[in-house]
């Protein structure tokens, strides 16, 4: 759209003076991607997560080629070795190689985290869509249910459920998602309510499109940005929760390595092998930091107005 330059209201102090110059029109997704691309810190964080993800997926390869150890191979002759030599980051109380366990642990942690996000998003979107679209008593009922689920303190719910259900990576993901979906549902419902008002929805329905079709083909694409932002921002929190549960012994059980359960016995390491406390914690910290930064970058890319 080629147009003349315009000057906005100058009367208030502090008003931003904006001019639009002529530029070809771009789709919302392209524009968002452009904004994201030009955020160097955000992109760096995203790339780092990608690298972690790739390493996690290729864990067996790294075991074979880089460290030459398996995550669960015990070597009682080499317990509590400090970093250096064959064991690049040292060993733990059973002589297991720390670096190998960090790599495999990342696999578990990241795997559970992404699975959790997937479950929470799916369930939350389905419920939120239905509530927002149908409105009325269905909306009230569904949202009251969400209120109830969200009223229970998450950590207690997790503890409760880990007694009832034996924690494997999959069940753990289900447990953690059982709270997360509620917030997603609220978010989606909000978006749907605002999009629902728009004329094109009415137009679609007036030509006889079925509800599900309207929801999937028309509402969903509009809700997607919010979901993507929520997912990006949520991954970090989920990793922290998962790590905490593992640390408490209520999540992934040893001998399977996860960053959290590598710290379960940390107090006993203090006096002689402090590095065993540092490494897993740093991994968690860096991963969560990157996903938070990336999440913020994604949110800013989709809606720069939200930036303070």
């Amino acid at each position: 759209m080629i147009g003349p330059s315009r000057v906005a209201e100058l009367d208030m102090p502090g008003a931003a003076i904006e001019t639009t110059t002529s530029r070809p029109a771009q789709s919302y997704w392209n524009e968002s991607w452009e904004r994201l691309r030009h955020n160097p810190i955000g992109m760096a964080a995203g790339v780092l997560i990608l690298i972690f993800g790739v390493v996690a997926i290729l864990a067996p390869l790294f075991s074979a080629v880089l460290t030459h150890f398996q995550p669960q191979s015990v070597d009682l002759l080499a317990t509590f070795k400090p970093p250096g030599g064959a064991h690049m980051l040292g060993t733990d109380e059973l002589g297991r190689d720390t670096l190998t366990r960090l790599i495999w642990g990342g696999r578990v942690t990241l795997g559970v985290a992404f699975l959790t996000v997937g479950i929470a998003l799916s369930a939350g979107t389905a419920v939120g869509m239905a509530a927002g679209y149908y409105g009325g008593w269905a909306d009230d009922a569904l949202m009251r249910f969400v209120d109830m689920v969200l009223a229970i303190p998450a950590i207690f719910l997790f503890i409760l459920m880990s007694i009832l259900i034996h924690p494997t990576p999959v069940t753990l993901a289900l447990i953690i998602a059982s709270v997360g979906w509620g917030n997603v549902a609220r978010l989606v419902r909000g978006e749907v309510l605002s999009v629902k008002q728009r004329d094109f929805i009415m137009a679609t329905r007036s030509i006889g499109a079925r509800d599900v079709r309207v929801m999937i083909r028309h509402l969903l694409p509009n809700v997607l940005p919010v979901l993507i932002v929520a997912a990006s921002l949520g991954v970090g929190q989920i990793i922290l929760i998962e790590a905490a549960l593992d640390f408490l012994g209520l999540g992934i059980q040893p001998p399977t390595a996860s960053w959290g359960n590598m710290l379960t016995n940390a107090e006993s390491y203090f006096y002689h092998s402090a590095w065993l406390v540092y490494f897993p914690g740093v991994m968690i910290f860096v991963t969560v930091l990157c996903s938070n930064i990336f999440g913020n970058a994604v949110r800013d890319a989709f809606d720069p107005r939200l930036k303070s």
Partner: protein
């Protein structure tokens, strides 16, 4: 107006409580029936024992009976009995609750005291190096696992200091078992866990205050205030901050529900004898009923806390109070 608002919120809360009870019941039912948690780990239990336990837990009664009994019990302050030793959950709660509140309230107070100045400075000096540093620290603060931070602090302030012969802070308990219990002893024990717990609050709230202040300072009434010829300090603190703090009250209010549950991990790391640690200990012993009772209690507090926060907001914002 305020009374009507409060009544509405209260009714909504009741509905949620009833619903949570139903969920609790459903959880029990879906996993029990023939399964009593922890049973299969104890090979010495005979079928008769299992049957007796099930009867004790009320698993052989229809759902709605259990529902009524439970609600009735809760109204009388009965949150169930332990599966392990038969002690009442209520007695444990009464025992541990003060400790948890002591810890989390302290953390909130520390959080507020530090977050407000940090946030205000960030807003007043936004864009500067100071502001950027503060933002970076906040962002980092979000990413640190609480339990790990606790471990590191113990490592530094308890273990390492002790190893170097310097005065060190205790790493567990609310007070020393030997010669302890006085005010300073308790404070000593409180410092590390409260600091860890407050870190999250400081990170969140300082950023929030900052953006709230920035928004408030761009409002028209701030321009009016300046046009009336008052000092910038008065503009910022009397006219600006007062408005910026209102949403913070809501945020703090949102934390009140978490008062009981938020400290669980910290309690475990620091051996702090609170409700969270109670739930954790009992969970390890598969004492399902105790964990259930404590969870329900905590949920009630969450709902009450939400209600309180709503009311607080209504009181503080004149637009609702006199609206």
């Amino acid at each position: 107006m305020l009374a009507k608002y409060m009544a509405r919120r209260f009714l909504a809360s009741i509905v949620v409580v009833l619903g949570v009870t139903a969920i609790t019941l459903a959880l029990m039912k879906t996993t029990s029936g023939s399964y009593v948690p922890g049973i299969d780990l104890n090979p010495s239990l005979r079928p008769e024992d299992i049957a007796r336990l099930r009867a004790d837990l009320g698993l052989d009664r229809p759902g709605w009976q259990w529902y009524i009994t439970w609600i009735w019990g809760v109204l009388h302050g009965d949150f169930g009995h332990s599966m392990i030793d038969g002690s009442t959950v209520t007695s444990h709660i009464l025992d541990r609750l003060p400790n948890t509140i002591e810890l989390t309230l302290t953390a909130i107070v520390i959080g507020v005291i530090i977050a407000i100045p940090v946030g205000v400075i960030g807003a007043l000096r936004h864009g500067s190096k100071t502001d950027h540093t503060m933002t970076v620290v906040s962002v980092a603060g979000f990413a640190v696992p609480q339990f790990w931070m606790g471990l590191i602090l113990i490592l530094i302030f308890s273990v390492t200091l002790e190893q170097h012969g310097l005065p060190w802070l205790p790493s567990s308990g609310a007070y020393s078992a030997v010669n302890g219990g006085d005010f300073f002893d308790r404070v000593e024990h409180l410092i590390l866990p409260a600091t860890v717990l407050s870190f999250f609050y400081i990170s969140t709230w300082s950023r929030f205050i900052r953006s709230s202040m920035l928004e408030v300072l761009s409002q028209d009434y701030i321009r009016t205030a300046r046009a009336k010829g008052m000092s910038e300090r008065r503009v910022v603190y009397l006219h600006g901050l007062r408005n910026a703090l209102i949403p913070l009250i809501t945020l703090i209010g949102l934390e009140l529900p978490g008062l009981v549950s938020g400290g669980l991990v910290v309690e475990v790391v620091f051996g702090w004898p609170g409700i969270g640690k109670l739930a954790f200990e009992r969970a390890l012993q598969y004492d399902y009923t105790t964990v259930m009772g404590v969870t329900f209690f905590a949920t009630l507090l969450v709902i009450a806390g939400n209600l309180l926060a709503d009311v607080l907001y209504g009181v503080l914002d004149p637009r609702i109070r006199y609206g």
